[in-house]
Symmetry: C2
Subunit: 122 residues, 2 copies
């Protein structure tokens, strides 16, 4: 896969772009990270571990990640109900790439913040 193919792959409505939008959305990465830190978490646990997420968005994000087979959802027919979420192998394979991005972001964060300030003052 060469550069041009990569670029073409990014055009709107393209499946690759579609897949990558998961990385870019507001909560997916955070949910994946949380699931990596503590494998097999229940809904409420996830909600506690990601304090800022709303119930609606946690539900929606979990559904997307499950639909993409990045996480596994296991429901146990008990009362009260219990549902456990965990990473699939595919989900795990994505995390190192996100790690790299995070490392880059942390390493360049200060520079970028500084650059933004200077840009505003121009």
């Amino acid at each position: 896969m060469n550069r041009n193919e990569l670029r073409d792959a990014l055009y709107p409505n393209c499946p690759v772009r579609n897949v990558l939008s998961r990385v870019g959305d507001k909560w997916s990465m955070l949910v994946l990270f949380t699931l990596e830190a503590n494998e097999r978490q229940r809904f409420k646990e996830l909600q506690r571990n990601i304090p800022d997420i709303s119930q609606k968005m946690l539900t929606a994000t979990l559904k997307m990640l499950e639909a993409d087979a990045l996480i596994l959802r296991e429901a146990f027919p008990e009362i009260p109900p219990r549902v456990e979420y965990s990473l699939t192998d595919k989900g795990k394979s994505l995390l190192p790439l996100i790690d790299n991005l995070l490392v880059w972001a942390s390493e360049n964060m200060e520079d970028i913040m500084e650059a933004r300030k200077n840009y505003l003052l121009k």
Copy 2:
């Protein structure tokens, strides 16, 4: 930087998250890629090379990337005006990470599309 710090770094309104949101927005990656393929492009060239982007979004994306010091904007006081854009070193340093994500996306795209279909049929 350990896992928990990484995760904390992702919390809303955090600078790292802020930086990463660039990766997630609709056009930034595509502009960076286009600039990598042909270094030093003018506004119109970029617009031609990214057919689907609107003028407004190209302008906005270029401004963001310039503010973050990922690209360099050089305006030449001529008539008609000429403006050239190119990647900075910081911009170049980000591209390999995006590459990795794209490779992952292409490698897993089919699986994911298939998984989504099956999820809908469930």
